[in-house]
Symmetry: C2
Subunit: 340 residues, 2 copies
């Protein structure tokens, strides 16, 4: 079905010049006379000539395609990152192939391979939560620039873009302490989760700096954090002998689960128990009370990551090195922790 498309050959024939000349004229090569350039370009425009990117890329070992791998494309935060990455890529003449790993390590491995096979110029990836084996990623890194974002891994020596998880988390807890909370619980994931660990260490740091005790009963670790787990773990926390007066759930989803449970028991938020989340997802203003959380600038993360990647594609360096870039995020204080 693909119809005939104008080629250099046809232009050359119509104008009685060589293909080389047409190619140069179209690429504005300095050698070509203005006159020739002019007539070539006019005809090209008239015949709607578009270069065959793949012939070109094939020739130059470049496809102008960048692969993006994300664990779950339905997450709002992810889509804002993708949007930023797309904008940046398109403005520089690149196209983006997207794939979803569904948090499945096997699928992720397959993605890296097919991306390589499809000849992408570089890969932007956020890893699945449980990425243990990174051998194939290291192997890929030998062939292509890779930039990681959000879910990164310090086992991979490449550029990694994250937000200031630890600092933001510290600020959240600091805020809770400042409004008088003294018994702050956290709902987090295990040490396999990069982001969770960072947020947890921000939590610990804040408590320590305020000389507050760390009560193991107030530290809840779940396998896979979610709204459901938030609900469940709020129940667990409420059944403690000494209840918390604030709960930090390391994702908005879980924080919303917590709020739902607290509301069920008619617990006043934030007076009896304050709740804070992380992400500033679009849910955070739908829920009542509106959620205090950390605003993660997704588009900026996406743009920044793509910028670094394209830069590495354009200026290949021999030695691959780790580089950690933190994007600043800010806490957004709302009714779930503070009533004006």
């Amino acid at each position: 079905m693909k119809k005939e498309v104008t080629t250099l050959k046809q232009l050359a024939k119509a104008l009685n010049v060589s293909i080389s000349t047409v190619s140069r004229a179209l690429n504005d090569h300095p050698d070509i006379s203005l006159e020739t350039k002019d007539k070539v370009q006019k005809l090209a425009a008239k015949l709607n000539y578009v270069p065959n990117i793949f012939a070109k890329g094939f020739r130059q070992h470049k496809t102008n395609i960048i692969g993006v791998i994300v664990p779950n494309i339905t997450h709002y935060f992810t889509t804002t990152i993708v949007r930023g990455a797309l904008e940046e890529a398109e403005s520089k003449g690149y196209r983006v192939i997207i794939s979803e790993s569904n948090n499945n390590v096997e699928k992720q491995k397959e993605m890296f391979n097919t991306m390589l096979q499809f000849g992408v110029d570089g890969i932007l990836a956020s890893l699945t939560k449980r990425t243990r084996n990174v051998d194939y990623i290291l192997a890929t890194l030998n062939n292509l620039p890779i930039v990681l974002f959000d879910k990164v891994s310090n086992k991979i020596p490449c550029t990694q873009i994250t937000i200031n998880d630890e600092e933001a988390s510290y600020n959240l807890i600091d805020h809770l302490i400042n409004i008088g909370k003294t018994r702050i619980a956290i709902i987090k994931e295990g040490e396999y989760s990069y982001n969770s660990e960072k947020r947890f260490s921000g939590y610990l740091k804040a408590l320590k700096e305020h000389n507050m005790d760390v009560d193991p009963k107030m530290i809840i670790t779940v396998e896979d954090i979610s709204l459901q787990e938030g609900k469940r773990m709020a129940n667990v926390l409420l059944s403690a002998k000494e209840k918390p007066d604030a709960i930090f759930a390391i994702t908005d989803g879980a924080a919303i689960g917590v709020i739902k449970t607290l509301k069920k028991f008619n617990i006043k938020i934030p007076e009896e128990i304050a709740v804070v989340g992380f992400s500033n997802s679009s849910y955070s203003t739908i829920i009542d009370p509106k959620l205090t959380t950390v605003d993660q600038p997704g588009e900026k993360i996406g743009r920044t990551a793509m910028k670094y990647l394209i830069d590495e594609i354009d200026n290949p360096e021999e030695n691959i090195t780790s580089k950690f870039v933190e994007i600043k995020s800010n806490i957004v204080i709302r009714d779930s922790s503070f009533k004006a």
Copy 2:
């Protein structure tokens, strides 16, 4: 930086056979002896040979890449469609290039052109709301198969996948009437919006079939429907002499805006005023009361659309024809319209 990759040539040299033979052996061509196939395939595996898809595609005038154009990639419904489309495409050996038109007609036009230039094998698109000029799409359609989904246009003779908007909307209104509502308002968009019009006609149809009057005061049309507009328009409806006893907002976002306003005025939902939306977005269970809405099976829409597209790519037909496919959606009754 792109490193050396194993090629047919290298395999041929190493095995002392011709490139043709290697190519055939790898493609399991019946002419080749089992013995040869075996030794070629073994070495290929050992050297980690992956075919260069672009050389192949270039040769065969096929890229195995499909372009997907969506108005806004951050919409949850859109992401579920994309997920379905990705799954289907990947299972058939295709990759997907995604681009966002940001509901901008100029950008959309550019997308179609660069997709063409990048040599995609087909395009899957959801159009921007205000697509008037479709000339360039018709021109593209001459070169490539196009399948439209969600935001479609009957001005373009191609396969179009939507949900049963009219029917679903009819069912919603029917439900409201059955629970005793008699004064049902609708918040919709103008006639430039395909989906809005369909939903509106379902509304009218239901009223008519129940012999209910259509009160123009109960029909609110906004330019661009959103949560904010939902809030605003709920205020307008509340200031009417005769208030509605149910409000149908044609998107969940707007319905949530309506609920927020009603709650502000302490109006009982659903007793005084019931609220229904459309989409079954993830917000619909976050809001209190949970929202009655229409579940749109996004993944199925995506899978179906991609299936049709790939089918058209594989079996090109000479004459392009319109084909309308409706995916069934179901209403989900929740607290905002019915208290058990």
